[in-house]
Amino acid sequence: MKKERLELFRRMVLIRRFESHAEACHAKGEIPGSLHTATGQEAEIVGSCMALRPDDYMVGNHRSHGHPIAKGASINPLMAELFGRSTGVCGGKGGSMHLSDFSVGSLGETSIVGSGVPVAVGAALGASLQGSDRVSLCFFGDGATNEGAFHEGMNLAAIWKLPVIFLCENNLYGVSTPAAEVISVKDIAERGAAYTMRSEIVDGQDVEAVFDVVGAAVSRARAGEGPTLVEAKTYRFAEHAANMGRVLLERGLELEEWLKRDPIELYRSKLIAGGTDADELIAIETEIDDEIVASLDFARNSPYPEQSEAFTDVFTEPVPTPAWLNVVENGDG
């Protein structure tokens, strides 16, 4: 049990440090595109994923970095993906919004809000048709629960009694729009009632609480008792995305209050109060820093994809490369 607790801590810190280094590299222009961090949300991410078996399925969203890390992915290919390198987990084709590692059961981190919900349902349908007891976990935000795809997926999972855990990462805002203004119910968990689906609300800053609630949902799903909607109440400490040029969200005291509920610090205190040596936790953090530095080295020293790679993976067979396009070797030209 102690080992498991330290692993919850370790994975949360790994996500935090991975993202803070990524932000710094993004600010320097080393990482192209947009970067959506989940800082502040690590407990709901890690608590959920650790409640799964390695062979269970998971579908995530545009705030994608934490999900594969929490599910146990190696970080070198994840970092290299952010840098757009050929050694990236998606070969440099997906980037920050799509850090999906299928080797740990991921079936995509999809950046159109709500679009992953039916996919997760389909994975559960596939598992059930195959007679397997795998379950499917789907992460989506508060905003996604206003999408048709969410409601269609919820209904399908309910009528077919599929082993799905719908994990709503309610961080209170869609970019700048307060969820409270645009969602018809006080608690998103209430939306489960429309599908006669068991629903739970959990403190998304408390990693063990999330682990327990999702763990129970996983057990029910495996036992053939159908899906659960879990609403994790959480908060993102950063803007919707890094470097957007101006403040989109004026939060004042709200942010200060939430910063007091930093999931990593809350858990550190809890572990120490439970008898864990503070130095043991610092040692874990030092180890993680070394791991991150190594991943940055790996990413920076990895080649860019060749131009011809733009034409692979459209289909299982490559599509023709047009003659006018000079194929640049390891093309940073």
Binding site: V119, G122, A123, G126, Q130, L156, D313
Partner: protein
């Protein structure tokens, strides 16, 4: 060899592939009740799990098919009518078409989206589209548009066995048409190979789906006037067999593209552009398109029917390229 209808060809293809591979399953609205006649006897043979009725929830079940395909299943989704794909547009474009690419080849999505193009029969604008051209602009989706029962069966079986997502656009004007279809359970028509439906030397008519029959009728008419028309059926629009099309045009020096879709950015437009780019020096006349004009399809049959390609319009186009 048996003489079977287009719908029966679909039924046979699905039945044979469901029998052959346990990972194949069928889902869609009212598939158990056999609404169009393509699932006769399926529930008895395969059970309700593999012949799965869905709610009217296209985004939900297309996305679910994508998820199921990613974990090793091979779903056939019956969207019934092609315009019902529109509520599932995000799932088709963002998930089905892109997941393999976005994740660097980690995902495999062997699924088939079947839909009937329900035009020419007074069903008005919302039920009458032939929307394959808009999906030709979305890489990652194979597109089949068969023009007779044998091709329908062979292409659909290939689609079900393909490891990529395939959209099957089934021309409703062909439903009752019949042709001989081999009895062989492994009768496959390869995706990406055009078929010369009639050989000729003066004009190449490249026709899509239900317009192939009209091109053949026009060829018959023109033969009586001493003009030899070659009819090329691409059969699949993605991938498009440009080699067979260009070989035909280089031989005849004249080309007409025929397509029941709306003219702008139609398959006919794409094929015409390919011909002009690659075989310009062989052309003796401008490339003409015979398509449906860019207006919606009205309910009244009196004004709906003349809008589609017909043998008469193709004949007029052939005369025009022969005169220029």
């Amino acid at each position: 060899m048996a003489n079977v209808s287009f719908l029966e060809a679909i039924r046979q293809a699905q039945f044979e592939e469901l029998s052959r591979d346990d990972n194949v399953f069928l889902m869609g609205e009212d598939v158990r009740c056999n609404v169009f006649g393509t699932t006769t006897g399926f529930v008895e043979a395969f059970g309700k799990d593999r012949v799965r009725d869905t709610p009217i929830s296209e985004a939900g079940f297309v996305g679910a098919a994508a998820g199921a395909s990613m974990v090793g299943m091979r779903p056939i989704v019956d969207l019934t009518i092609a315009t019902f794909a529109y509520p599932a547009m995000d799932q088709i474009c963002s998930i089905v078409a892109k997941s393999r690419y976005l994740y660097g080849g980690q995902a495999r999505l062997p699924l088939v989206l079947r839909m009937c193009m329900f035009y020419g029969n007074s069903n008005a604008a919302q039920h009458s589209d032939r929307p394959y051209p808009m999906f030709m602009g979305m890489p990652g989706l194979k597109i089949i548009v068969p023009s007779n029962p044998a091709d329908m069966k062979g292409l659909l079986k290939s689609a079900i066995r393909d490891d990529n997502p395939v959209m099957s656009f089934e021309d409703g004007t062909l439903w009752s048409s019949k042709s001989t279809v081999p009895d062989d359970d492994d009768f496959l028509v390869p995706i990406g190979v055009a078929d010369v439906k009639r050989e000729g030397t003066d004009v190449s008519v490249i026709a899509v789906g239900g317009s192939v029959q009209y091109a053949l009728a026009a060829a018959e008419t023109m033969a009586k006037e001493g003009v030899s028309v070659e009819v090329v059926d691409p059969r699949t629009l993605v991938p498009l067999d440009t080699k067979t099309i260009l070989n035909s045009v280089r031989k005849t020096g004249r080309a007409i593209t025929v397509d029941p879709a709306h003219q702008s950015c139609s398959a006919a437009s794409e094929i015409s552009a390919t011909i002009v780019e690659s075989a310009f020096s062989d052309l003796k006349a401008p490339v003409l398109r015979v398509t449906t004009p860019d207006t919606h399809l009205p309910f009244s049959p009196h004004i709906e029917k003349p809008l589609y390609p017909s043998p008469e319009r193709i004949v007029a186009a052939v005369r025009k390229v022969m005169d220029s």
